[in-house]
Amino acid sequence: MDTVWGDNVAQNIAFYLIAAIMVAAALRVVTTKNVVHAALYLVAVLIGMAGQFILLGAEFIAATQLLVYVGAIVVLFLFGIMLTRAQLGRDPDVDTTAAQRTTGGFVALILLVVMGYAIYGTEGMSETELPAERVQTIAEVSDSIFSTYLVPFEAISVLLLAALIGAIVLARRD
């Protein structure tokens, strides 16, 4: 590694740029008072995440991320916000007590320090470079799913069906 930016300057710049946007947007998700804004900031985080997946050579996961998260889950969230919006007088989110926020921030900070220590304290971890050729094609991923992981894949289908039926039964008006 010759410079601060490492061997591949463009990829590193892209990483830091997207990472900065993601962290800023994630902080807004958990701090903003407006629930709709939080959902839109969540979209920024999720799209950035797809960008990181492309940098890591996981094209299929990036496409799935965009389709499932940005296309479906965020829309579900917006419906959830819309259907629970009619607050009588006060927004319960506005009056989070300072004690709750301080405790949450403290716990999150401790957790970050512990995880950072584990990551940088592990021997050889901080010099590990990802391989330059790391693109894994959709064909390879599908081969893996439909051979080694066929049974878990079917289990996931059943889980999704169960969740679908469960959500309908729960939310149905009788």
Binding site: G6, Q11, V23, V29, V30, V35, A39, L42, V45, M49, F53, L56, A58, I61, T64, Y69, L76, F77, G80, L83, T84, L88, P92, D93, T96, Q100, T103, G104, G105, V107, A108, L109, L112, M115, G116, I119, S126, E127, T128, E129, L130, P131, R134, Q136, E140, V141, S144, I145, T148, P152, I156, L159, L160, A162, A163, G166, A167, I168, L170, A171
Partner: protein, 99 residues
Amino acid sequence: MLLTNFLMLSSILFCIGVYGVLARRNAVMVLMSIELILNAVNINLIAFSALHRDLSGQVFALFIIAVAAAEVGVGLAMVLLIYRNRSSIDLDDVDMLKG
């Protein structure tokens, strides 16, 4: 590309999500923070999948995405049910099981 960059980004997003779960009282916001946590884990899986040139990480990330979709569907249905019964989605109000 250093591996630790991705691991640190994942840790930071995870901790932001933990903060959201602990400090928010709106049930929909807590669900959003849980999505943040689940997504942060995916970066780890994909990064190690790229490092070892092993596809298992990617397959597990796909499974996590599917489980997250199922979780948010059921979770939002439950939030709607709570809202319909109690006209509030403040999680501090949902304490009927408290002894």
